[in-house]
Amino acid sequence: MNPLALRSLLWLGLFAVSLALAGFAPALGLAPVPVPFWLRVDLAGAISAAMRWLVETASFGLFTFKDLTRAIAALIDLPYQGARFVLVEGLREGRGSRAVTLIPPLGWLTVTLVMTALGVWAKGWRLGLFLGLCFVYLAAFGRWESAMITLASIVIAVPIGVAGGLVLGVAAYLWPLVNRVLSPVLDLMQTVPTFAYLVPILFLFGFGPVAALLATVIYAMPPMVRVTTLALRSVPTELEELSRMVGCTGRQRLSKVLLPAALPDLMVGVNQVIMLSLNMVIIASMIGAGGLGFDVLNALRRLDIGAGVEAGLAITALAVALDRLSQAMAQRSQRPGVVLRGSVWRRHRWGLSVLAMALAISLLGWALPALQTWPESATLSTKGFWSDLVKYININYFDQLEAVKGAMLGWLLLPVKRFLLALPWPWVLALLALAGAQLGGRKLALTCAALGLFILSTGLWEQAMTTLYLCGVSVLIAGLIGVPLGVLAASSETAARVIGAVIDTLQTLPSFVYLIPVVMLFRVGDFSAMIAVVLYALAPAVRYSAHGLRSVPPELIEAGTVCGCTRWQLLTRIRLPSALPDMLLGLNQTIMLALSMLVITALVGTRDLGQEVYIALTRADTGAGLVAGLAIAAIAIIADRLIAAGAAQARARLGLQGETAA
């Protein structure tokens, strides 16, 4: 018997024991196993107290800690106000309804033109046209002003995130100690839900757009740090040696050799920062960022589904436009540049003529207001279409949907929930440690057990198990839908394009937009939450399996064909097994997205850790929020480490090369 089969058998046995434990423990009076008092730590109280000290008394002598954070806030507010001046407000005299515009902000046509020109410059006419269309959508559907408010905060948040990420990434590259300290911090930044640290940010940096900007930066920066360190490490050593030989100083080596060589990779990080910043639009609008996120929330409070979808799609349009543009720029940075010579005009012909045209349109806007502000009479709207659609489904198909829901709840969700909640905690911790030991050795076993103990010590064990259940079931279903879609996308170019577009939309459309119709059709509860999580977490399952299948070495497939495999055999015996490591990474990402979504689904009344975070937020309870957030992070890190170790083993077994992604 080979070791793999032996291990499967072992886990099958353990699963049977777990089932028995969950089934009989309550009958035997064993569950729930009480948590000994010395394992309970009042971390929440300690964090809240520390926070109070930080806000109220901490001082550097001349000024307090709060003065410092407020000064930082004022510093960030400055460029933000500048961006708002250019994009949203212009210069106004007077206040409120009597305000008179002296210098208008950039008009819709000007901005659209500049974006189109950027697209043409970065890639070509097709991209330019696409960007132009995205921005025309914003204007035509009456979302211009909100979109520009959102754009103004993105324009400020992204450079801060990129610059901060670069500095930290370079530091981690240069000094191993920094790297070691930074690595767990980045893990936490990526896994602790934003809701958990909104309250302390509000306390320290004041209410309003700046606090929202900072929350966005914290959330969006980690990939930039990671990408920077990785990119610098992967610069060919010959290049670095060369820079030493020609006598570069340390700073020259970094700025003239290493960073330029790593530029294409760095641009991938920039793209990530942009996309993650746009993910934060809704949450940022809850604490005063306004803009499109506020439009979405406001429309859905009125149950105006159409307006919610329109505003949500505006976020998608903005996100997809900025994503494509930054990707095109990343590719452009890989092309060898053509050095133009001659006068300023000759070198910057393109840029200058766009600038001149923008200026001309702005001036024309004084005479023709339609060039400045999209005329209200020409504003498009889907009006009642979306509401009517939901109403139609609701009235005609509710019973069928209810039957599906009942079956899913009865046969899958509730049994899994009962099973997980009935498991005694010492058994769960033991299983975690065993899994860690088998996949990654003693160190991983210790990590898993320690993180499990941490969750136990917070007193949130039951909520953590509920989280595990909702997340687990959602990931399972996302996998069941996502992997076949990935197979389809890998097999045909057309399918790939259609599926890609759907997935891009699902990932950038704020979940709140579809959460409310889902509640209308399935009521408040776990099932609605599960649907929302599946929709959001589907993307990586599809992407990674498609990518894995496409990168199967052609020799392997040829060998299979020569041996006379049918198409089905090729898929199940060769392509899927060799795509396994990639698919495991996809699974990892799916879990991360599902966990991040659970905080949002708290809005439809789940009873898990996400709900704890949300309650703490509304009560402005710093400690409780952070503790629940850390418990979510602990689950995420356990899953991440176990799967990464599993993927490494699978790679080794398949004899594939490649580094393990963190």
Binding site: R95, G96, A99, R301, T618
Partner: protein, 319 residues
């Protein structure tokens, strides 16, 4: 061409001059620093705040409206980052307000004149399925009429987000109702369920509050529980169940205005105007339905009220 240009310049000059003249004509205000009013995420509050802001602007004050969470805002009101919150509901905000005013950093500037109602609510068509409503005794006999597959045989009651409190679990137990309390995470989810059930004329029993657009849009009534008295929430002996508290309705109460303590020192005139501000449930209900049901913008609605009630608000700012 020359003429239009000249006209344009003249208009520009006039525009430049107007605000200066207007400010001069108005009473001088104590400080031109912006007064920050908080905005939350329900329409009534946006209108109340919009009205107050418009009135203060008429008085010559510099006003800013900022987004802030309903409960989280007290942190800002204590430190003076935020200045005025126009709607703190007796029913949901009392504890947070008491906590903030206890230290003296936040002061209560009196009632807005509006009365908050929060109670169990059902659509009219449920009277057929459950005769005897709106009296709460009727619920005892027809829990099954409100049941869903998940809660059957118990009835299903959709409660507000957990943080809103409301003691519904206690109420169900104390009154011996065979209902299960399900908490929605947000009120958007709550009213999404109501809309869905109403479209299908399906059974539903949920928490509805007023002033809000829902009781204006849907035909229905609040359940009549034994009227609230403070003793009911503290003394088990009170009411029909001698062993339990909360055997009565939810309290109703005023919607309060609160402010940072520094407002009265820095902008005494503004503090007076805020204290003077009152509006009735009916007026507010009409404006909420104009915005949420007829699609009017909040700015237009506020401007319409300002035009129609000039004498009222001029009295608040002593003009």
């Amino acid at each position: 061409m020359l003429k239009t240009h000249y006209l344009g310049t003249a208009a520009l000059l006039a525009a430049l001059a107007t605000p200066v003249l207007m400010t001069a004509a108005q009473a001088e205000v104590e400080s031109m620093d912006p007064i920050k009013l908080t905005l939350h995420d329900w329409t009534g509050q946006l209108i109340t705040t919009g009205l107050m802001a418009a009135v203060l602007e008429e008085a010559g004050y510099n006003v800013e409206q900022v987004q802030a969470d309903y409960l989280a805002q007290f942190a800002g009101l204590k430190t003076g980052d935020l200045h005025v919150a126009m709607e703190i509901w007796e029913t949901t905000g009392r504890e947070a307000m008491d906590e903030a005013t206890a230290g003296g950093e936040v002061v209560n500037l009196g009632s807005t004149g509006m009365q908050a109602i929060e109670e169990w609510w059902f659509p009219d068509y449920m009277k057929e399925a459950c005769p005897g409503l709106p009296d709460w005794q009727a619920l005892k006999g027809c829990a099954a009429a409100f049941a869903t597959p998940e809660t059957a045989p118990k009835g299903r009651y959709l409660g507000a987000p957990v943080t809103w409190g409301g003691f519904d679990e206690e109420r169900v137990a104390a009154l011996g109702l065979d209902f299960e309390v399900i908490h929605a995470g947000t009120d958007a989810a709550m009213f999404a369920e109501l809309e869905s059930a109403y479209q299908r004329q399906a059974p539903i029993l949920l928490w509805v509050y007023a002033p809000h657009w829902a009781p204006l849009k849907y035909k229905g009534e609040w359940v009549k529980f034994p009227p609230y008295e403070p003793a009911c929430y503290t003394d088990p002996a009170w009411g029909s169940n001698p062993d339990a508290t909360h055997d009565c309705a939810k309290p109703t109460g005023p919607i309060w205005k609160v402010a940072w303590k520094g407002v009265a020192e820095k902008w005494p005139g503004a503090a007076k105007a805020i204290e003077a501000f009152t509006i009735s449930n009916d007026e507010m209900g009409a404006m909420i339905s104009a915005v949420d049901l007829e699609g009017a913008s909040i700015e237009d609605t506020v401007a319409g009220w300002m035009d129609a009630n000039e004498t009222t608000w001029k009295g608040w700012i002593g003009q």
